[in-house]
Subunit: 335 residues, 2 copies
DNA sequence: CCCAAAAATGTAAACGTTTACATAACGGTT
DNA sequence: AACCGTTATGTAAACGTTTACATTTTTGGG
């Protein structure tokens, strides 16, 4: 906004020097109480707000954290942002977002343009190699990766317990007596997708169940891809008795396909998903899923980042995993 | 990020003055082609990025727009942000967001803290009086209100065609032969809610249908409030034959209530909603609704704002209305 | 009442840009 | 060859802060 009153105006009006005003605004302790009040009063009267640009020029800090979101949006990411924003504000930080990145080059551009505008970054780049994007950042730049495939362990990272959640969900299906369980996978190059597939495989292996190749159908996290996979399964001669979709959107797509094919869920076939999006409880039948506390994910990432920004030097890189919980509803036939 | 190379380094290295470097970075035309290339090469070699704080200090602009979101999140707002962000980036602007505001005081605080960090604002404050929030802004500050109750017409505003959409939806029910139509309203103090109710009333009046008071049930846009209203209707001796919910979430809640009560939708009772959230097509039966192009809403708001920022002086205040379209699915019994 | 230490305040440099103004280089006319 | 109008470049002030350092005021112990 068109800043109007400057620190000089306040200083003159209050009969003190600019240094004193600055000290008052920064809550320095070396200022007498009565002058403090006097300055504060003048400042509010004049509607004075420190110029953030000038401040950042000399302090080299911006009180802002940047957030990079992937191209695909939806309820998941809006919840994450919510968690980030609330936590950031609680610590007097602002949030600069940037969403929808088509490719690697896009990400590079955005990172460059954020340079100097943010004190730290939260990166959510599930599909792509995050390495090259990170390479262009200054050494030791405060950074937290959320749900990224990052092998090097050079950076702070937070991920969802994809493997454990998927494993638990599939075990539950096994416990219900299913032996032919299909999976609809997420995107090829997607980190979450790969982990959930790994969990699926592990649970089957544990149960000594065969893993026929044609029980793994590829999707891309969209409802339509779930629908396609469901339709394909419905028309098979020997159908599986249960389907684990790598996310809820695909599970819901599959539900529609089964309904159209005249199949009853869960009697003819059980369906389960992952994420526990709000929609899950309202579809028919209500969808069993793996619950993730999404806004806590954002909160956690922000706290990690703030920590890293406090001590840019001796910061210990850590990898954190958000636990998941099984939510059993009607679609899996347990109720 | 810890900015490292400054304009001076580039100037020295390239054997020119800082002014020349500045001109190159700002694409001024008064610089010879060969020096331009020379400077550009040095700049990229040194990884030079202009310090945005210093820039904003002297130009008094930040290349950033601020976005204020309401407390309640969900798919609607994440779509809006997406539209805003894409459009902003296309014009080389950044987006500073702030979500979840409990009360008036909260909003004031955030607006104050954004002061000087943004060149313009997009406000989405559906529940509250926006007037007092706006009052604290500098005169003529670039501003666009989205879905706000704003009577004064002092500011640019964009709203959804709530009235027309609701009217069309209810007319459609009338055309299908319904004479006893109930409505589940949104929050008391909510602008959208009020407009949709007005559309409902208008359509009934037009059709010369009576408007019995007990056919208007109050909700608050949440699924649970829709469920409650649905349950209440289901147990009545003389049920209405159709229900118009002020948004899809409540419509979906009502669907669940009717299913529990053993009613068949649409045979026993027709149900329709508003917003056409993605979930709408996946519930059973698929929900008829009023479609809004949400991301276009964000895009439109951003374009208006950028315009206003171009010419802070002679900008003509305007009110725009995003049209809606009727989406007929199975829940209203037309198919 | 004096003096040193502590507390409060002031002075001025520095941060990295942009830009008005001054200057220099360069053809092209006379 | 002197002059002019472009065109290209340089110089330096200004933007609004913070902060090291200098200076003044206050305090309290002798």
């Amino acid at each position: 906004m068109a800043a109007t009153a400057t620190i000089k105006h306040v200083a003159r009006e209050a009969g003190v020097s600019v240094a004193t005003v600055s000290r008052v605004m920064n809550e320095s302790s070396l200022v007498a109480e009565h002058t403090r009040l006097q300055v504060l009063q003048v400042a509010t009267r004049l509607g004075y707000v420190p110029h953030s640009g000038a401040r950042s020029l000399i302090t080299n800090r911006t009180s802002t954290i940047g957030v990079l979101l992937p191209d695909l949006y939806g309820e998941f990411y809006s919840e994450v942002i919510r968690g980030i924003d609330q936590t950031a504000r609680r610590h007097d930080y602002h949030v600069l977002v940037s969403s929808s990145h088509a490719d690697q080059h896009d990400i590079d551009t955005v990172l460059r343009s954020m340079r100097g505008r943010v004190d730290g970054l939260i990166l959510m780049v599930p599909d792509l190699q995050v390495a090259s994007a990170v390479a262009m950042l200054p050494e030791r730049f405060p950074l937290v990766l959320v749900n990224c495939a990052e092998e090097s362990r050079q950076h702070d990272a937070i991920t969802v317990a994809n493997f454990e959640g998927a494993d638990a969900m599939v075990r539950h299906l096994v416990d219900l007596g299913h032996t032919r369980i299909a999976m609809i996978t997420g995107g090829e190059r997607n980190f979450d997708a790969a982990e959930r597939l790994r969990g699926f495989r592990s649970a089957l292996e544990q149960a000594a169940l065969s893993m026929e190749g044609d029980l793994i159908l590829s999707g891309d996290f969209s409802e339509t891809s779930g629908f396609r996979a469901g339709a394909e399964l419905a028309q098979r001669a020997s159908r599986p008795t249960a389907v684990f979709a790598a996310n809820d959107a695909m599970a819901i797509g599959a539900l529609s396909a089964f309904r159209e094919a005249g199949l009853d869920v869960p009697r003819d076939i059980a369906v389960v998903g992952f994420d526990d999006i709000p929609m899950a409880r309202y579809v028919d039948p209500p969808l069993s899923s793996v619950h993730v506390d999404i806004s806590a994910l954002g909160e956690c990432a922000t706290i990690r980042l703030l920590e890293a920004m406090q001590q840019p030097a001796g910061h210990v890189v850590r990898r954190e995993i958000m636990p998941t919980t099984l939510v059993v509803r009607r679609s899996c036939g347990a109720l």
